[in-house]
Amino acid sequence: MEVTIDGKKISLEGPVTVLEAARRAGVDIPTLCWHPRVSVLGACRLCMIEVEGINRLLAACTTQVSDGMTVLTDTPQLRKVRQTMLELLLCRHPLDCPTCVKGGECELQELTYRHSAPENRFPENPGPYAVTDPSPFVERDSEKCVLCRRCVRVCREVRGVTVLGAMERGYHKRVGTYFQQPLNSEFQEPYNCEFCGACIDICPVGALNSKVRKFRGRTWEGTTTDSVCPFCSVGCLLSLQVKEGELVRTVPREGPNNEDQACFRGRFGTDYVNATSRIITPLLGRNGSQAPADADEAVRFAAEKIAGARRAEMIVSSGLTGEEIEAAGEFAGAVLPGGTLRAVDTLGLEELAGASRPWEDLEKADLIVVAGQDFTIFEPVAGVRIRVACGKTGAGLIVLDPRDALLGGEAGLWLRPPGEGLSLLLAGLLRTLAASHGDRLKAAGDDSFLASFPGGENGEVEKQLGLPEGSVEDLARRVAASVRVVFVGHRGWYDPEGSVPSLLKELDRLLSGEGTGMPLYLGRDCNSRGAAAAAAAGPPPPEGAPGLVLLAGADPLGTALPGSPLAKRISEAETVIVFDTFLTETARAADVLFPLPTFAEKEGSFTSSSGLSQQLRQAMSPPPGVVSLRKTLEGLASSLGKSLSPGSLPKGSPPGAASPVAPGGKLPSAGERFLVLRGIPIADHRIRLVEESAPLFPGPVVEAHPADLAALGLKSGDSVRVVSGGSELVRQVKADLKTPPGQVHLPCDPADAEMAAFVGESERPEGWPATLRKLAGLERAAGESKDQ
């Protein structure tokens, strides 16, 4: 097709709108409601154009180019329309630009500067709306809203949440929430506002602002540095704005993993780097008696302990950079006696060593299978990629997730295997594919692999998992009917043995026929893939207690469960040396603690779940005295007369050697009333440092479906006793629509040590059933006092 726009001839392939064609031709047509991430609305009428042969004006964003079209974008008539639109908008928009947070990046300001008439014919008369939303993080200022509905569209189309909508009509029209409730009101359950902040980014004016960064600096002040999000393993790219030594704003930037999205942790959670509670000097002494020490003293103490130890092991967080883990490995090899290097939270990931799978692959799939628990709660941006890919290509979506976390409702098939039943279901799928759809498979099945998983007839599996009859066959049929299937999984606590990655990998191998099957698998931390490649997965082998445990960034006492092998290891060690930024549960147990810089204060790289290594850039200086992990380790080494050297590390066990682990026969049985669903803590100690995030945590409660509560005569706030095997837990119960009927969800808030103990220590009966009983009379009073 050939079109002429303002005299410029360009040829292009359709279908394409006049607006896109003009942008390609380098012709600027002003827009306000149009945005590349969301559907076309055509509401602002700023992009009106004239087309030769058509005697009315057309909107460039809604008009498709046709061959031979001649377009004019800048005529007196069009200028008049644009001026009038801006006049009409501005007379309803408060002109408090001097104090507006959006100043400097306001699109209305820019449009007015470039296109408006010198004076406004219409008197200023802004709407009567007040800034009222009491929810955290997002401030809504309807008075400034220009009703472009970009926020409404991004909330629904990209984030899948639909918290914001266009309300009323005519001159009463406004963007609002159901019943004018706060963004995170119960009316939104179960799809409540996630505070992803996408609406703030996409708002062209100051109608949606970050409450956290308000008045902490104009957009052009300080320095802005490109870096990588330090939370989950999606690997979103961020821009960090630092002013006078404070991180004042974090916004997502275009990246191969996140496109231009982030979640509330990446955007608001990064505020933790400003926390005053961080450690800035070494601390000596254990459990409450920790006191600041000068660096030489701490190094001397640690060096003495290292020199005196028989055996020592280094445990690193998978949230450290690749370079930090490398330094830890060099230190373990060259300095520690009998040293080993292990990483927490990488279990099962060694299966995927070396492989990569870009998120764009989702857009080549005709079927996407998502397997996990609370999928889009833990990694919202992964959910965005899946949703957007399905929307773009029309690919089918299958979700295997017991909890209602947005994607389920968008899927063509949604199976809700209870908690730890996912591996059983996937094994069932593998068996059924091999047995009934052999012609679809492109590689031979591995009998010995399958033999390591328990299971049986589909009917049996369905009964055990409480799924409708025929579910497994239906799932297999849909998978077999698709040409290109992409599996997406994530590492949750529902998979204690780490068997899901190997199952997904095997499924991928059989269906794609490629030697190295590779699902898109999300580790638990920002550098899980990098850590898995460099260090063996914890927990360490049980033989003999180590004399000395060194932990860098890892907080197994705060994030893993009491009674877990790693926690046991720490409690049994003679000496514990910790390197961390904050006084975590683990750091409290340290004999000596060295401070570490935050992600914003260091250079390095994180390997995201897609296998992509991305570079962190230092956005701010660490406090004086806080040096990099490598520097600290080098200091320690030199005081022992040694130096860090690469390649000297014996690994705990080589990657790939781990055989797939069977789920241990924990098959749910239908005998008791509820199955326990162990939750995934949504936030670690860093997010807890961000005060505004408090309302987002479940608190010390257990959750169950309202229908179940009604059947038991319970309501939210009642105290209940959860009994499973020999253990019991008394907690308030909360109605929760995300939890499927028949299951009780224990959110596993790490601050709730008693619940963690219940989850971690109880001798679980097969399938982990539990009973839920209302506390009565005196018992309740006792239970409630226990809660406090």
């Binding site: 509401a43 009428r45 329309v81 009038t84 908008l89 009703l147 005519g170």
Partner: protein, 425 residues
């Protein structure tokens, strides 16, 4: 003169019931179509009859059906627009309340013609009684095997649902109606694609006015030639003319296209009320420009009224006699559109607001010199830039009032008008 087509037999007692409707020849057209005609032949017959849409745009119905039937996507839908939201329009309500089966029969014939198996009658929110009657009629027809599977023993399935929207003027606009029917806020969609290809649930949809469907049984039964012997060259058949305002006999009159405005007012509506002087007529509801007594001999069909500078629309004629204040008329119309703008696009949402503000100032005599031209200037922009027909047309009546009665506006602005000052006293 007895109503020849759409309201035929409306006076017959209990014509609402299926039994009486069938006694009067009801469902014979459907029977004829199913037995003797191919779907394509039905489309051909409707094209030949020169039936045009009665909702206001006057689009050829046969052509619309042909476009739907040729779209390979399925399922296809039939939708009857029973919003009847244009102020002054009350031509569909008699059909819905008194001869609902004529509409249902017309829809069934349309469904056969385009290959649809489902239809919806979309009523405005306020049409509770018509919706109840329609549901009864649908149930009756289903029971008699005139709706449902294997209608009249043929391989033809058609079901009808009755739906009420939340009640907004904009929902009479076809794409807003579809949005509302899909459970979304009633706001217009981008066109193209048009509903013939991408209507309800993005499927091909034949969306016609209630009155349009009610013409269909006659066309099939009596033949296109008989049908098109009534009416004008471009617009065949009859029209339900709703006439209201300052006339002696307001009401709905079914008359052939081609009658003149003068004839309608003088000979059917009983002339102007109390022998007063005619001041102007809005021929197509609140969004049409007014015609003055000079235009009394205009022929009432779509092209002729358009040529006279207005539009026939749904043929809701609002007659205004002397000494009505045209500023007051303009302000009332402007307030209506400010209230009914869906708020999607800037020119309509804000433009209607500013028009009311300016007119209010003019009426009170508190406006600025130049406000009248300000309205005209704003109107020219809004007309060119609004997203949908509502916005494009909504300032027309005000502009036409200013055009014909500018002196009254100036008198108000200068505080010289007696008419609007009394209330202030």
């Amino acid at each position: 003169m007895a109503a020849p087509i759409i309201y035929r037999d409306i006076e017959t007692p209990n014509i609402r019931s299926l039994a009486v409707y069938r006694e009067k020849g009801g469902y014979k057209a459907l029977e004829k179509a199913l037995n003797d005609m191919s779907p394509a032949a039905v489309v051909e017959e409707v094209k030949k009859a020169k039936l045009v849409g009665r909702g206001g745009a006057g689009f050829p119905t046969g052509l619309k059906w042909e476009l739907v039937s040729k779209d390979p996507a399925t399922p296809r839908y039939i939708i009857a627009n029973a919003e009847e939201g244009e102020p002054g329009t009350f031509k569909d309500r008699p059909i819905l309340e008194q001869i609902p089966h004529r509409l249902i029969e017309g829809m069934a014939i349309a469904a056969y013609a385009v290959g649809a198996e489902e239809g919806v009658i979309v009523c405005r929110g306020e049409f509770m009684e018509p919706a109840r009657i329609l549901r009864e009629a649908v149930a009756e027809a289903e029971e008699a095997g005139l709706l449902g599977e294997r209608i009249m023993g043929k391989d033809f399935t058609f079901r009808v649902w009755v739906y009420r929207t939340a009640g907004a003027y904009i929902c009479g606009e076809e794409t807003s109606l579809l949005e509302a029917l899909e459970g979304k806020p009633g706001m217009p969609r981008i066109r193209p694609p048009f509903p013939v290809n991408s209507g309800l649930w993005s499927k091909p949809t034949a969306l016609n006015n209630v009155e349009t469907f009610s013409n269909v049984p006659n066309i099939i039964l009596e033949g296109a030639d008989s049908y098109s012997s009534l009416g004008t060259e471009k617009n065949a058949g009859t029209k339900g003319y709703c006439i209201a305002g300052h006339v002696n006999k307001p009401g709905v009159y079914e008359l052939p296209f081609g009658i003149t405005l003068r004839d309608l007012i003088d000979n059917h509506a009983g002339g102007i009320l109390d022998g007063r002087q005619l001041k102007c007529v809005f021929p197509g509801g609140a969004s049409s420009s007014c015609l003055t007594p000079d235009n009394l001999d205009v022929v009432l069909d779509f092209p002729s009224v358009a040529a006279a500078g207005s539009m026939l629309g749904s043929a809701a004629l609002m007659v205004v006699a002397e000494p009505t204040c045209m500023v007051e008329v303009s302000l009332r119309l402007a307030r209506f559109f400010r209230h009914e703008s869906c708020g999607k696009c800037i020119p309509c949402r804000e433009g209607t607001c500013q028009t009311v503000r300016l007119l209010d100032g003019i009426q009170r005599g508190t406006g600025r010199k130049g406000d009248i031209d300000e309205i005209l200037d704003l109107a020219s922009v809004v007309r060119q830039s609004a997203f949908c027909g509502l916005g494009q047309a909504c300032i027309n009546p005000v502009v036409s009032c200013i055009k014909h009665f500018r002196q009254e506006f100036e008198e108000h602005l200068e505080g010289r008008a007696a008419c609007c000052r009394k209330e202030e006293g």
